[in-house]
């Protein structure tokens, strides 16, 4: 019976994978400058508009909650909590997005090497999956318990987000993005294209 179930599972899995294989879009040119530009733009927006410490502190600041609880009626309090929850969730999703971005970035460049280290790749894949799962759990925790119920988790997310930024930054430096499109990397020229 186990053998039959296993065979059926393999058969179905193959057909499902084939479906996604056929649906899969065209792969972009390998190591394209476009990829690097997009990675750089994402990183810039994260670093300059989302991740500064004071912003993170502001989103999760307990003083705000205390002030609203002291000074505002209950309707305003619930509105405040609801909006802070939305903001914190959006913020965690950005962290998850950054980890996904790093994963895509690593895969996109690792494929260029003829001699991949399979054990390293497996370890990395495992770590990516683990981190993405942890981020998802944090998202659920914030959704269920709110931004002020788990301050430890919030700190964690903040630190993690900063780290992800560092990773992306290092990767971009490593891949010599500056040499590919120096104008795009100039912070004063955000969004400008040549």
């Amino acid at each position: 019976m186990i053998q039959l179930t296993f065979s059926l599972l393999v058969g179905f899995a193959l057909l499902v994978i084939l479906y996604f294989f056929v649906r899969g879009g065209k792969v972009s040119a390998e190591g394209s400058a476009q990829q690097l530009r997009e990675a750089r733009q994402t990183l810039d927006s994260l670093q300059f508009s989302l991740l500064p410490n004071d912003l993170v502190h502001r989103i999760f600041a307990k003083e705000d909650l205390e002030y609203v609880r002291r000074a505002a009626p209950s309707q305003v309090q619930s509105l405040f909590l609801s909006e802070r929850k939305d903001i914190s969730l959006a913020w965690v999703r950005r962290v998850r997005g950054a980890i996904l971005g790093l994963m895509r970035f690593h895969r996109g460049h690792a494929r260029l090497y003829a001699q991949l280290n399979l054990s390293t790749e497996l370890l990395l894949a495992f770590n990516f999956v683990r981190l993405l799962t942890v981020c998802r759990l944090l998202e659920i925790a914030l959704y269920v318990r709110g931004p002020y119920a788990a301050p430890g988790m919030v700190r964690t997310v903040a630190v993690a987000a900063g780290k992800v930024c560092t990773i992306s930054e290092k990767s971009l430096v490593f891949l010599k993005a500056n040499q590919i499109d120096p104008l795009r990397n100039d912070p004063s020229r955000h969004g400008a294209s040549v």
């Binding site: 058969g11 690593h106 090497y113 001699q115 280290n117 770590n127 990773i167 990767s171």
Partner: protein
């Protein structure tokens, strides 16, 4: 045999002939030699089975010839997977090696199980368990094919029209075979007619896909690695992997700490 199966059978012979003729006209036979050898072998065995079926018309002879012929084409089908892996991972030595190891391990495991059965169970013999063995070998092919598709998706490796068609056609056939053989083993002879229809229809669909995808030879797009990514610069890859790993571990530590408090 139903009229439907006969039509599909003859249609299949026609498509196999078309594929082979186009491979010679388009000079792609040498490029995908293992694949075309497989098609040629299926054409020969199918035509021979057809002649036996029409002129000898003895089911016992048909069955006696069918399974050995099926095993030969099954073995050559592994050549198709080998061909796919060779083209998909042409510039990725490690991935090609992984696909081959997966192939070796899965097929090795199945033959080991057959040997164990043959030695430990005196009443068990291959001839009496042909459907079981074919299903197991098809499962092995499916696993290797899934590994190749997963790796191409994971590393976003570009695949040309010809090889894409090979994967799709072979995948459809192997997937349908695994499912129908499994159900046949489970239900028994009552499912034989349905099994014949599914098996021949799936193979016909595969042939149609191959005929379209391999109508003309399309060279794989050269995915030449940049100068700093060649075989000699494994240090470059190691640096990339180490860097990613190092900071992933660091993130992991930060994510884990508060949860353990």
């Amino acid at each position: 045999m139903t009229i439907f199966t006969q039509i599909v059978w003859l249609g299949g012979l026609f498509l196999e002939g078309v594929i082979l003729i186009r491979s010679i006209q388009g000079k792609s036979f040498a490029k995908y030699s293992l694949f075309y050898v497989y098609i040629a072998s299926v054409l020969v065995t199918s035509a021979a089975l057809w002649v036996i079926y029409i002129y000898i018309a003895k089911p016992s002879v048909n069955v006696a010839v069918y399974w050995p012929a099926q095993y030969i084409t099954l073995a050559l089908g592994c050549g198709v997977i080998f061909e796919i892996s060779r083209h998909v991972f042409a510039h990725r030595v490690s991935l090609d090696r992984l696909a081959r190891w997966t192939m070796l391990a899965t097929f090795g495991l199945i033959f080991l199980l057959v040997a164990v059965h043959a030695f430990l169970l005196p009443k068990w013999n291959v001839a009496a368990n042909t459907a079981d063995l074919e299903r197991d070998l098809r499962v092995a092919q499916a696993i290797v094919l899934m590994t190749i598709i997963f790796l191409t998706g994971y590393y976003r490796i570009e695949i040309g029209k010809n090889v894409r068609g090979m994967i799709l056609g072979f995948g459809v056939y192997v997937g349908a075979s695994v499912l129908s053989l499994t159900v046949r083993v489970f239900i028994g002879p009552r499912f034989s007619t349905a099994w014949q229809i599914i098996q021949s229809s799936a193979y016909f669909a595969a042939l149609a896909i191959w005929a379209v995808a391999l109508w003309s030879f399309e060279p794989e797009r050269p995915s030449k690695p940049p100068s700093d990514c060649d075989d000699e610069s494994s240090a470059g890859y190691q640096a990339l992997a180490d860097q990613t790993q190092e900071i992933l571990v660091s993130i992991g530590d930060h994510l884990d700490k508060p949860r353990t408090k």
